[in-house]
């Protein structure tokens, strides 16, 4: 919808709108806690704890080490995560997996004693991917003249209730993990229970590329969070953009209702398929 409005806007303004990269003095950063965690049914649960840095720093943000990190499920089972060689990266013991149908809560105790806890996240089942296809197209992509191979994913949304999805991509073994690579969707009332095909037109691929597409289930709140991340990192400052705002996830300071950690703790089940682009 918004994309189409932009097209309209572009047609209207012809070629007048212009973008200029500028240098700005930004106000000093107030250091804030960032907690990003994930539990899935396919890999070890992991949590990254860091702090915010000044916006113009082109560096990795500071990591927070020596925190106590545990994940507890609704049956009272506890997973203890330990800090790996990568500072601020906490990992569960090998072989530990999330279980579909259970709900998980993350707790983080910082070295200074403050406690941050997530809301409970349910690990929901996810629909199978029916197939992946690729097609050479000249009419897709961000720029009109962009051409290349595009991947289309087919699956059937299960009937009954709203489902929320996320897709992750890796191309030739390299995970696409920049902000612009975040994709999520919600299939609610209108397309409930229908076969769905999705073409990821932001990836123009070359022949013989190997693409792995992971399809993840999300809770409604997690999808909303990702959508906010998408909107705010893909902003073009245009007249149809919503205002930028702090993205409030599901992790709160237990001692102060007004303090939250940036980031999100999510639970997903994952299915994946791969495709090699060729004729």
């Amino acid at each position: 919808m918004k994309y189409l409005l932009y097209l309209l806007l572009l047609t209207t303004v012809l070629i007048s709108a212009c973008e200029t990269t500028i240098d700005l003095e930004l106000t000093d950063n107030v250091s804030k806690l960032v907690v990003v965690g994930e539990i899935t049914d396919q890999s070890e649960p992991h949590v990254t704890i860091s702090r915010t840095a000044a916006y113009s720093d082109d560096q990795l943000t500071p990591r927070v080490s020596e925190a106590n990190v545990i994940i507890e499920d609704d049956l009272g089972e506890i997973i203890i995560l330990t800090e790996s060689e990568k500072p601020g990266f906490y990992l569960a013991p090998e072989g530990v997996r999330g279980v579909i149908g259970r709900s998980y809560t993350l707790s983080v105790v910082l070295p200074n004693g403050s406690i941050y806890k997530s809301f409970s996240e349910e690990l929901l089942p996810v629909a199978e991917i029916d197939s992946l296809t690729s097609e050479f197209r000249t009419d897709l992509g961000d720029d009109d003249d962009e051409q290349g191979w595009f991947v289309t994913l087919y699956f059937t949304d299960p009937p009954g209730g709203d489902e929320y999805y996320r897709w992750k991509f890796s191309i030739n073994g390299e995970q696409k993990n920049r902000a612009e690579d975040i994709y999520s969707a919600d299939f609610d009332s209108i397309l409930d229970g229908e076969p769905i095909d999705l073409t990821f037109f932001e990836f123009a691929l070359n022949e013989n590329d190997t693409v792995v597409v992971e399809q993840l289930s999300l809770t409604k709140e997690a999808q909303k969070f990702l959508l906010e991340v998408e909107i705010q990192t893909k902003t073009t400052g245009g007249p149809l953009d919503p205002p930028v705002a702090p993205i409030i996830g599901n992790i709160r300071n237990q001692a102060d209702v007004n303090d939250f950690a940036l980031g999100y703790f999510s639970a997903s089940s994952v299915v994946s398929q791969s495709i090699i682009i060729n004729n």
Partner: protein, 870 residues
């Protein structure tokens, strides 16, 4: 009038023609030394065979008096009646008048003010006696009513751009005087430097208002040569916009949806074409545009910030005329003519953009893309007589956009107004209007084999009787009512094809009632007051299913605890409010006055829009169980001065305004096709205050205005839970808060054929949100914006120029034409619309970010247009 003429006939009534004439110095003897006034007059009457004429109430008939024995008639009458009376002989009648009564005797003069050439009624013309101490202003139908003493010798009518007209009076009774004013250009073919005294802002009671004539609007240099009413309005003090290409306007810190935009009294829901680059009003059919920013009369209600009252022309009553133009964006043609001369006329006007028509000739055959808009304005009126007049007017406008063969958008307004003006008696003017207005949009996607249609609309119907009572020279009363029915369809999506599905956000219905009474009162020669009260009542009606949320938890879908079904037309929730309005003006002398005003207003519908600009696809939300009506109060105070016979006008106004229960949005609110939209909304407060300076030169070779506004506009939004608050629930500047805002508009007649115009705009950059930190999410860099509108964009400034060359007219030909050359943004300033922050996708460093400035019209836009009249 309680006039009773006591008439007595002499016995030989049939001899009247030969009756002797009496003289005041005629001697006469009365029979008794003391008698009542009645007896004395009877005796004189009988003796002289005359009759008396007087106002019975003036004389105490039973009062005993002592009489002179033998004296002249005049001496007798003085003795009987006293010094307060004077006497006149008319044939065989003796007229007795109370002395003071003679001066007080007043008659109502009423009528219409019209253009002598077209018969078009003129709004806001000033009518006064020769001394200028009794006056009236013609109303929006050109009607005036004025009470004048019978001693007044002359009545004068003046109106900017027209020759003053004076009419000799000999008032014996209530009279109808219609003024037909000659347009100035008709009179003076050479450069006009008019010294006629013009009505001024100093004299009128209304403050915080600006009137622009179609001519003024046409002269302002416009983007791509498209004369634009809304963009002209933003050059006035106290009016801002978010940025270039933004639809609508913000008045004294109010949102775009707080302006009551009326086209021939019908509300217009979207005033923008092409997302805001152009506006819906075709200036060729517009007579007059009046913007009220404060001191809003009690007859207006429903929006809290301003009233933009746009009146269409009625159509030429005398002869067939046409007007039109060809520009680079659109072409337009207006035709007007009498249907029955001086009784009935029509006007019809069309405008259409044609970039798509040109594109159609060059496009690939399989490409159906097109973007265009069109407007159609029509009006018919019929004058039954001087007392009855009927108007029927309509507006239809649409924007159409087709992208390829698959996607089509359409949105537009339609309005219709049927009005009946009825002059009940010389001092009672009744207008009754029946109004229909509709705004709708539609999106069609042809995604074979499925077809998706998405529709949304708002329909409303109004009935509005309004009575003006010109009670006496001191008081003019306004009273009336308005009944409005609204139907909202927030959104309905239908999928057809292999998949058949539909989704519908529930329809909403509401009834709004308003009644008002206001009086404009002159107290002495210097003070004028207008006080009024409006009572509004709003019923949010079924049929509708309404959810109940757990009152102890944030309003979210998961916290729904109950639902209730309401039947059709059943009241789900009602609101009401008293809206006092008050204005006062104190005029020190002809050139200086001060004014003050207070208003309280209610607004029962707000536009739900969470984007920087409002879009055609935003929906209006009615006040209801979870959304209270928006209320606003405003205080304003101003000083007005005129110089050199009103050639210059200067005004300074300060205002303070508060707004309560503004709709705001939770972070990440999903507003499109949302069933329980209340779960995405918050309410907030707003406040705005400022100083507006306005300097206008209305006449002469060089005319125009300079407006300066110093203001502050802030909002406060407290969340349902503390972390949902914006900026911790503290006041922060609104998106359109511009501390300094300067507009200079100049028009200079170089030669009789050449006119040049210039605009200069300067404004403080609007608030913007810059990140105060960054973090990583799975390797992606995310900016953190903890404080809304914490910075400002660079300052905005721009100059536009235009020049108009009038072509020579051939003698005896009606055809006249002109060329207008315009340049928008002469020095190609890249004004920032926004600055945004994104990862630097071109950099190899995944942590690299950049700030980018977006300029929407960051270039020079020259344009040429050809305009004609016949």
């Amino acid at each position: 009038m309680k006039y009773i003429l006591l008439v007595s006939f002499i016995l030989h009534g049939f001899l009247i023609s030969t009756a002797q004439t009496v003289e005041l110095d005629q001697p006469i003897k009365l029979s008794a030394k003391s008698m009542t006034i009645e007896e004395a007059l009877k005796e004189i009457k009988d003796n002289l065979e005359v009759e008396f004429s007087f106002v019975t109430n003036d004389i105490d008939h039973k009062k005993g008096i002592s009489t002179l024995d033998y004296a002249t008639l005049e001496e007798h009458l003085l003795q009987i009646l006293g010094d307060d009376f004077e006497f006149k002989i008319k044939g065989s009648k003796i007229l007795i008048r109370k002395k003071s009564q003679t001066q007080k005797e007043a008659y109502i003069v009423n009528g219409y003010v019209r253009d002598s050439q077209t018969g078009e009624e003129l709004i806001g013309a000033s009518i006064s006696n020769s001394a200028g101490n009794y006056g009236a202003i013609s109303n929006v139908y050109g009607f005036y009513s004025l009470r004048l003493s019978s001693e007044e010798q002359m009545i004068r009518c003046s109106y900017l751009g027209y020759q003053n007209l004076e009419v000799k009076l000999n008032l014996q009774s209530d009279s109808v005087i219609n003024f037909n004013l000659d347009p100035q250009e008709l009179v003076l073919s050479e450069i006009v430097v008019n010294a006629d005294r013009q009505p001024s802002n100093v004299e009128s009671l209304q403050m915080s208002a600006n009137t622009l004539s179609a001519k003024q609007i046409e002269e302002i240099p416009a983007f791509l040569g498209e004369v634009d009413v809304i963009k002209s309005i933003t050059l006035l003090p106290g009016v801002t916009t978010v940025g270039e290409g933004s639809p609508g306007f913000n008045v004294r810190g109010g949102d775009v949806d707080q302006n009551l935009i009326l086209l021939d009294e019908a509300p217009v829901y979207s005033s923008a074409h092409l997302l805001g680059f152009f506006s819906v009003f075709n200036a060729d059919v517009i007579k007059d545009v009046k913007l009220y920013k404060g001191g809003i009369p009690s007859k207006y209600g429903g929006r809290v910030s301003s009233v933009l009252d746009v009146r269409q022309k009625e159509g030429d009553m005398k002869a067939f005329h046409g007007k039109g133009g060809i520009g680079i964006v659109s072409s337009r043609l207006t035709l007007e003519a009498p249907i029955v001369k001086d009784k009935s006329s029509f006007i019809i006007a069309g405008r259409r953009t044609y970039a798509d028509l040109i594109y159609r000739t060059v496009r690939p055959s399989n490409d159906n893309s097109a973007v265009y808009f069109y407007d159609l304005n029509t009006k018919i009126n019929y004058r039954f007589n001087d007392k009855n007049r009927l108007y029927l007017s309509g507006y239809f406008g649409n924007d159409v956009a087709r992208l390829g063969n698959d996607v089509g958008f359409k949105w537009g307004n339609s309005t219709g107004t049927l009005r009946w003006n009825y002059v009940l008696n010389p001092s009672l003017f009744l207008n009754t209007s029946l109004i229909y207005s509709r705004y709708n949009y539609q999106l069609n996607v042809d995604d074979s084999p499925e077809k998706i249609t998405w529709e949304s609309s708002i329909n409303n119907y109004h009935f509005k009787p309004e009575l003006t009572w010109f009670l006496n020279a001191q008081n003019t009363l306004d009273m009336g009512a308005q009944v409005s029915l609204f139907e909202f369809q927030p959104g309905e999506v239908t999928v057809s094809g292999d998949i058949n599905a539909s989704f519908k956000v529930q329809k909403e219905k509401a009834l709004e009632l308003g009644v008002y009474l206001g009086n404009e009162q002159k107290i002495g020669d210097n003070l004028t007051l207008r006080y009024g009260l409006r009572y509004s009542r709003y019923h949010f009606l079924g049929s509708l299913d309404v959810y109940t949320y757990d009152p102890t938890l944030p309003r979210r879908e998961e916290n729904i605890i109950d639902s209730a079904s309401y039947n059709n037309n059943e009241t789900i929730k009602s609101f009401d409010g008293w809206e006092p309005r008050f204005s006062a003006a104190y005029q020190f002398n002809a050139n200086n006055s001060i004014k003050a005003s207070y208003q309280r207003m209610y607004q029962y519908q707000q536009l739900v829009s969470n984007t920087t600009n409002v879009t055609p696809f935003d929906v209006w939300k009615s006040a209801g169980p979870y959304i209270p009506p928006l209320t606003s109060q405003q205080f304003a105070f101003g000083y007005f001065k005129s110089l050199r016979d009103n050639t210059f006008e200067i005004s300074a106004e300060v205002y303070y305004k508060t707004m309560n229960d503004l709709i705001d949005y939770k972070n990440g609110a999903d507003l499109i096709l949302t069933e329980n939209i209340e779960t995405e909304l918050l309410t907030g407060n707003g406040r705005a205050y400022g100083l507006e300076l306005f300097f206008e030169k209305k006449l002469g070779r060089l005319n125009g205005w300079l407006a300066y506004t110093l203001s502050r506009t802030e909002r406060q939004v407290k969340g349902d839970i503390p972390i949902n608050s914006i900026n911790n629930g503290e006041y922060y500047p609104s998106d359109y808060d511009k501390t300094h805002d300067v507009s200079l508009v100049m028009n200079y007649k170089v030669t009789p054929r050449w006119t040049v115009n210039m605009n200069f705009l300067y404004a403080t950059g609007r608030p913007a949100t810059y990140p105060d930190g960054r973090y990583e999410f799975e390797g992606a860099v995310i900016p953190n914006y903890s404080s809304r509108n914490n910075e400002r964009l660079p300052d905005y400034h721009r100059i536009d120029l235009s020049a108009t060359l009038k072509n020579r007219t051939k003698p005896g030909k009606k055809w006249s034409s002109s060329w207008t050359f315009s340049v928008y943004n002469v020095y190609a300033r890249k004004n920032a619309f926004s600055i945004f922050f994104r990862p630097d996708e071109d950099s190899n460093n995944a942590f690299s970010t950049k700030a980018t400035q977006l300029s929407i019209l960051g270039s020079v836009f020259p344009a040429i247009s050809y305009n004609f009249e016949f």
